[in-house]
Point group: C2
Chain length 401, copies 2
């Protein structure tokens, strides 16, 4: 474009880490190194906190070997933050950016991070400071609008699907009821991924509860009893975000902690799983009831990264940099899926406000009518993002008479 | 030997599943197929329960492809049980074994399972029924006597070590206190494995609490505060079996459920982690405190199997069968480590009663004097069992001035 913007670059990571958020960071850094108009590459530690406090790393001087190693490492190598900038923060941020001659700003994260990139973009516009502000999508929740899916989801989904394969096998060996509590505040995609490893008709999870449908304890207990009576066991996947008909998260009844975006802490506690397990024990008479809360394992486990997810995460980082250098507008990079039979994605630049704040939920056709399972349409949607799961073997033989 | 025992074989799995217990099962089955003196191979469903109820699979007729697939699959493919046979059970078991002309009996499991094999061995002797009764070792707890280590431990340790790498990276991004609750009733080996992925001097876990040392809440809080004040964060690994100076498990205070071996249920609940997290919040003033209980993930996750563990698990199964056919005595197969620099194991047949009932603990030289960490000797001991862990990358660069 006509602007010929030229200068330094600032990049930072925000919100909950994922297994591939460093792929996006390194994808952007590598692309920036190839861009003549980008001079220095500053990495801010812990998101906007690192800009405010000028805790910056010179990412242009890292070796290729380091970049490669960091890309393959889960969690946010620059550190992260859950902080929404106040108007005063924004003034200070611009002081830093202007002084550092930053003309390209990239913020990697979810919808809260897109909002931050949007606020900074607006402040830059108001201050008449010429700068490209870009959001690079990341969230294991898969809940960003405009996106077919988001980097981070595929790997977290791979962990959850593999975990449920293992838990189902474990429960076949020692039958009972097992509850897995999966991350996902408002969107059930990650909990839904628990079903991706099912092969046999009686494989678990047998029941899947998502935040998109009101959670009713009595119906839940009836569901569990029914599966247990039929199979002698019952595997359940529950989103940490399940809420009653009034919209109150069941887990929120145990937590008073909130971040500056107003989000109540749901993770990092086994309370929801234990509550559900105790209800089942008390009301159905089933004795062996266990619950596991996947917690931080599902977003930072280094051994379950989806190859497709890693590739796409690197690509959105690189595309954001190319777009920022070439285009005269700010934006977020959205992943779109091609219409053909074969899995194929394209990347599009969309306005920041389209991705900021509000989130996306599971569409109705991904949720079974009874509200306690996913549909084959969801399985078809999610499988390419996760990649081939571990093979499960079982004996075929007839019983000895 | 002179006996020339010949007839059918019965094999079963017992106790908590592991990621490689099927390797032992299939290792035994494949070896049995090569043995002329073993005719039919019966697999009992759910341990002795399947013998008592005559729920048997004909494992001699499974295809090679099935055997290969089952071997690579976590958890107990025949099903498991936590049942100690009563004297009446034993009478019934012998009825079945005699009627089926079973002369080779194999029971895969931990010390409780070795005890079962011992009881059956004794009953066979008293009944003057000629039969080889063998225990094949398995336990993620790594607590069998006579063994340098046990099949199942390496893979569970690999999961725990990888998980802590991820949790440490996650906590670097969003600092605070994180508690991981790891399985292990009386032995701390698996919790100790949390330290295997440490690379940098400030990598977590920073504190490791084992059941081998009395757990003191006040000292724990002081430890946590000290690390937190130094690093601004603190990663803790705690065994589910930590107990106070009187020997009462902290987690047992929340559980009333026991199995027929008298073991109190410790897993399948987040209560211990939540208790510790709440204590830290209340007493130290640190606000971001999270806990994750690894639960069933750590013993049946299909994506974190140690190659060495899988090989050795298959070997102990095969060795048990060869031993049973050749020798005139019953026993358990123990893994011994060679004295040289290079990692090398041998397999020895030891008396069943040496492995039954009592368990082994972490030796003192594996536990740091302060009682809140492991030693380099433990790391050297455990690394070959786990194999190379995921590489972790980090930025080397100097901060921008």
């Amino acid at each position: 474009m006509a602007r010929q913007l030229e200068g330094n670059m600032m990049i930072a990571q925000s919100g909950g880490p994922s297994a591939v958020i460093n792929q996006s960071l390194i994808g952007a850094v590598r692309e920036a190194r190839r861009q003549r108009r980008i001079h220095r590459i500053f990495g801010a530690r812990h998101g906007i906190k690192g800009i405010l406090g000028e805790q910056l790393l010179d990412l242009g001087r890292e070796s290729d070997a380091t970049l490669q190693a960091v890309a393959a490492t889960p969690s946010s190598a620059l550190g992260s933050v859950r902080k929404k900038p106040t108007p005063e923060d924004c003034v200070k941020i611009f002081e830093v950016l202007r002084r550092r001659n930053v003309r390209f700003f990239f913020y990697i994260g979810g919808n809260d991070s897109a909002e931050t990139a949007y606020i900074i973009s607006e402040e830059a516009r108001k201050a008449d400071y010429e700068m490209r502000s870009f959001h690079i999508p990341k969230t294991i929740d898969n809940d960003l609008r405009e996106n077919d899916h988001t980097p981070g989801f595929g790997s977290a989904a791979r962990f959850v699907a593999s975990a449920l394969q293992g838990i189902d096998l474990d429960n076949r060996a020692l039958p009972g009821v097992h509850i897995s509590v999966v991350m996902g505040r408002h969107a059930g995609f990650l909990t839904a991924a628990s079903a991706l490893g099912r092969r046999r008709t009686d494989d678990g999870p047998h029941l899947v509860y998502l935040p998109e449908r009101p959670f009713d304890m009595d119906r839940f207990l009836v569901d569990v009893k029914k599966v247990y009576d039929r199979l002698g066991r019952c595997i359940i996947a529950v989103s940490e975000g399940i809420a009653d008909a009034d919209g109150t998260a069941i887990a929120a009844k145990f937590s008073k902690e909130t971040d500056s975006h107003g989000n109540v802490q749901l993770s990092g506690s086994g309370a929801l799983g234990d509550l559900l397990a105790n209800e089942i024990k008390a009301k159905t008479g089933i004795s062996r009831v266990r619950s596991d809360t996947f917690g931080y394992l599902q977003r930072s486990f280094p051994g379950a990264i989806s190859v497709t997810d890693a590739k796409e995460a690197a690509a959105v980082g690189a595309v954001a940099v190319r777009q920022a250098v070439r285009a005269a507008q700010d934006g977020s990079i959205a992943i779109r899926r091609g219409r053909g039979r074969a899995y194929r994605v394209t990347f599009e630049c969309v306005p920041l406000r389209n991705v900021a704040r509000e989130t996306r939920h599971m569409p109705d056709n991904f949720i079974a009518p009874a509200g306690n399972d996913v549909t084959p349409a969801f399985i078809r949607y999610a499988m390419p993002l996760v990649g081939p799961l571990p093979e499960i073997g079982w004996f075929k033989g007839k019983p000895v008479k």
